[in-house]
């Protein structure tokens, strides 16, 4: 008998318009790839250059698509049931935790599998074009994609079982995927030119945590962007082993949670320092410097303050002062550590490389944090019923929305400020870099504003925060990561002009080119990218304004 959860999840998903749209877009894009590169002289290309070029594009697109889409459904799968109260019914039913897990996993991953099946005709066409190995390339590409789908779906389910809201599950899942897919590539990219075999071994092994090197290896592109280090060792096998172990681990960690104990949560006691004994009060005031004490009774909102902004600070997970200081501190330490390592010669990095690391760090933080802060500004209120209450107050819609945007902007600004000292060191080392650094800062500020406005605009379109967050991440990751697919396929199949055009959409690439990072310095991306971001900001502002006006007017 078919697992009822699997049946409900997958069938329910396939009935939605978005599932239909995703399938239609995928088929359309893959068909376009094949049609563009199909030989026009009715002869098979046994050299296989065209087929290889299509396969590369095909593999990277599917990988990027899976990384973006795969976590959306499983990340909300368990936590949504918990919020709706239906998880208790499932646990109380004769279904075992394994049944629930498998139903959820294949319900969500099943959709990814379906997308892979839909791509088979395009893969077959690649093979027919000639010059592509069936086992070592086509099957290997599908093995990687299958592992990615399972790995990220189990990861998302594991996080979903441990979070309280769908939004935090999505936020953490995308953060974890960034950690697994992108961050392991950093050391390898930035240790190019190192002669120490030990370092090479470590960074190569670390890079295999990500599916990207395995995919590149299978598609015959060696190291990241075909630059620098040459991969040593069996990359695909290493990734397969790591993916297998992590799938097993995430499965066990999820199964452990899928029982009645998932509901055993104490309600917070609501203690305040002000009501505790003198000794405790004195201790906490010293340890937390009074202002940062999370159990301090808050002061009343002052008349000149925007009450919505203060409310947002208080309700956001990381909006309270003690959390902000922790995040600020971590960013500051990271930035200072990089500076110290560079200036003391521990790392043999030039200013360009250090700048590249800082730019990637800042972009990753902005892209990760902005949607989590801003994609619930309106959808979150509508979901919780707070929007009606806010409308019943004398606050204008402008005050409500600006309060929310200001609260998110403050956090983003703090994150940017915390990573700024590294630029100071760069200036000290090479004072003539000042104009470049200024341009990088303009790019990053524009990216911060764009991320904020795109997330807020998306939030105004959706009724629930989870899809708004997923779509915001999708847009930003597609912008900063998706366009990198063209860069990875530079020279073959994409000509330089097309790569440059695509990278002009990408703020990360623009900042990297401005800071003179190897492989990016040859592109001229600013100020075209600033205009693109400016247009994006204007468009998002228009969408946000129209939507909030629509939502605020009497029915």
């Amino acid at each position: 008998m078919m697992n009822p959860i699997f049946q409900r999840e997958l069938v329910g998903l396939l009935r939605t318009r978005k599932a239909y749209a995703i399938q239609a877009i995928l088929i359309g894009v893959l068909t376009a790839f094949v049609v563009i590169r199909w030989p026009d002289n009715a002869r098979a290309d046994f050299g296989g250059e065209q087929a290889q070029a299509v396969l590369r594009l095909f593999g990277y697109s599917l990988l990027a698509g899976l990384i973006l889409i795969c976590p959306v459904f499983p990340a909300a799968a368990i936590v949504r049931e918990k919020q709706d109260g239906t998880l208790a019914l499932l646990i109380h039913s004769p279904l075992t935790p394994w049944d629930i897990f498998i139903g959820k996993l294949f319900g969500a991953a099943g959709f990814a599998m379906l997308l892979l099946v839909l791509s088979l005709p395009a893969a077959t066409a690649c093979y027919v074009m000639g010059g592509v190995a069936f086992v070592h390339q086509i099957l290997a590409v599908y093995l990687i994609l299958l592992l990615v789908a399972l790995q990220y779906a189990t990861l998302a389910l594991c996080i979903s079982a441990r979070t309280a809201t769908a939004v935090s599950a999505l936020r953490l899942t995308y953060g974890a995927i960034l950690l697994l897919a992108i961050v392991p590539l950093g050391p390898k990219q930035f240790t190019q030119g190192f002669n120490d075999p030990m370092v090479g071994q470590v960074v190569n092994t670390l890079a295999c945590v990500s599916p990207i090197p395995a995919m590149m290896d299978v598609l015959g592109q060696g190291g990241i962007g075909s630059q620098g280090l040459i991969n040593t060792g069996p990359v695909l096998q290493r990734y397969s082993i790591f993916a297998g172990i992590s799938i097993l681990m995430f499965t066990l960690l999820t199964l452990v949670k899928l029982n009645a104990r998932i509901f055993d949560r104490n309600r917070p006691a609501g203690k305040v320092t002000d009501e505790r004994s003198g000794t405790v009060r004195a201790y906490r005031r010293i340890m937390y410097l009074w202002f940062f004490d999370p159990q301090r009774r808050s002061g009343l909102i002052r008349g000149w303050m925007n009450p919505v902004m203060i409310k947002e600070f208080r309700t956001q997970q990381f909006g309270r002062s003690h959390w902000m200081m922790r995040i600020f501190g971590v960013c500051l330490l990271l930035s200072m550590g990089l500076m110290l390592a560079t200036t003391r010669g521990t790392l043999n990095w030039g200013v360009d490389t250090l700048g590249g690391v800082i730019v990637i760090l800042q972009t990753a933080l902005l892209v990760l944090v902005a949607p989590s802060l801003a994609s619930g500004v309106i959808s979150g209120e509508r979901e919780s019923g707070g929007w009606t209450l806010l409308q019943m107050t004398p606050l204008s819609t402008f005050t409500i929305v600006s309060g929310k945007l200001l609260s998110a902007a403050r956090t983003l600004l703090l994150l940017l400020l915390a990573t700024l000292p590294a630029y100071g060191v760069m200036l000290a080392i090479s004072p003539d870099q000042a104009p470049r650094i200024l341009q990088v800062l303009i790019t990053l500020i524009l990216l911060a504003v764009l991320s904020l406005m795109v997330s807020a605009a998306t939030s105004s379109v959706f009724r629930r925060s989870a899809p708004a967050t997923a779509v915001s991440y999708g847009i930003l990751v597609a912008l900063c990561g998706g366009t990198m697919l063209f860069w990875m396929g530079r020279d073959a199949p994409f000509p330089r002009g097309l790569v440059e055009q695509a990278l002009r959409l990408n703020p990360l690439a623009t900042a990297l080119s401005l800071i003179n990072t190897p492989s990016f310095r040859e592109y001229s991306l600013a100020p075209a990218n600033w205009y693109v971001m400016g247009a994006g900001i204007v468009l998002s502002t228009v969408v946000l304004s129209v939507q909030t006006w629509r939502l605020a007017r009497p029915q």
């Binding site: 203690k271 009774r297 107050t393």
Partner: protein, 329 residues
């Protein structure tokens, strides 16, 4: 000056061809509690949304303290405290912070706000919750904090959508006391609820609405008088053996169209009649003198639930009320 606080005239709201509210006319005096009842989808929430300025009527008008609900939303927000059926909680916020936020949103000066928060917490019996996190409160606690929130700006009219929904019996009693206390303070209340016995205990006025139309409006006694002209009497005998004899005697001594229903297992006869007290007293004497062993002869009291079922019972099964009137004992 008139003491009418809430007034609607021919209030109508249509969504395309669907008429959600059809020519509603109600009036409510200061300090009164209006029980607004009707099956799901009857138009209660539509009416409430117009009253609080969240929706515009297609036709007609609604005023609160003389202020037009559709034209002067700013004044209406100060005059009305609205508690929707969803609480609208915010995570990571303590009760005092929650009330402080809404106090600031209602522009209550900072120097008065703490005192006002103390007052509303005391009025709703929630002072002990001050430092608790809002998301950690039970449903009953949240309802009380919801009422405290609506009271913050000292509105003249409170509109509470299902305040007793999901509350346990003890919490319901507490809620009832809070609402009565508010009415004593001079607040005018409009309360919707599906728990009709609760409403009947606190409401001065009842409005029954189905399919957007006002079916009954007034005090419960008035409504009952209008709905049912006849009295429902119950005759209970000691033995079922005398039932047929009793029915025969009743038919000969009551008007021709009196309805007589026998519940044989309970040895009971239910009579729907126009007879007055004098006639009924004489009938009882006659039955006893005829040798019937009468255990009880009484008028069946009817309540809001009966009124609701009688009014909504004439509607099509599209509503969630039973299709036929079913008076209860």
């Amino acid at each position: 000056m008139s003491d009418i606080v809430v007034q609607t005239r021919d209030l109508t709201k249509a969504f395309g061809s669907f008429v959600a509210l059809d020519g509603l006319n109600i009036q409510l005096k200061q300090g009164h509690i209006l029980g607004f009842i009707g099956p799901n989808g009857a138009g209660k929430t539509t009416c409430i949304k117009i009253l609080v300025g969240l929706s515009r009527p297609t036709r007609g008008s609604a005023t609160i303290s003389g202020v037009d609900c559709t034209k002067d939303a700013r004044k209406i927000k100060q005059l009305v405290g609205y508690m929707p059926d969803t609480f609208g909680s915010y995570d990571n916020m303590r009760v005092q912070e929650y009330l402080d936020f809404f106090g600031a949103a209602y522009k209550i000066p900072r120097k008065n706000r703490l005192k006002r928060i103390d007052e509303v917490l005391e009025t709703t019996g929630s002072t002990y919750m001050r430092d608790r996190y809002v998301e950690a409160l039970s449903h009953g606690m949240k309802q009380r904090i919801g009422i405290a929130r609506t009271l913050l700006h000292d509105p003249r009219v409170l509109i509470l959508d299902e305040p007793a929904n999901g509350l346990d019996p003890a919490a319901r009693v507490e809620m009832r006391q809070i609402l009565l206390r508010l009415a004593e303070m001079g607040k005018t209340l409009i309360v919707t609820s599906h728990i009709l016995p609760e409403l009947s205990r606190i409401c001065d006025t009842v409005a029954i609405i189905t399919k957007g139309k006002l079916r009954a409006f007034g005090s419960l006694e008035q409504i009952m008088r209008n709905i049912r002209q006849r009295r429902l009497m119950e005759l209970q005998l000691l033995s079922t053996a005398d039932l047929d004899k009793a029915v025969g005697l009743l038919r000969t001594n009551l008007e021709k169209d009196a309805e007589i229903v026998v519940a044989r297992q309970e040895a009971t006869v239910r009579i729907s009649t126009d007879a007055d007290d004098q006639t009924l007293a004489e009938l009882l004497g006659f039955l006893i003198n005829s040798g019937l062993a009468v255990a009880q002869f009484r008028e069946v009291q009817q309540d809001l639930e009966d009124a609701f079922l009688m009014v909504t019972g004439n509607d099509s099964p599209a509503t969630d009320a039973p299709a036929k009137p079913a008076p209860r004992r």
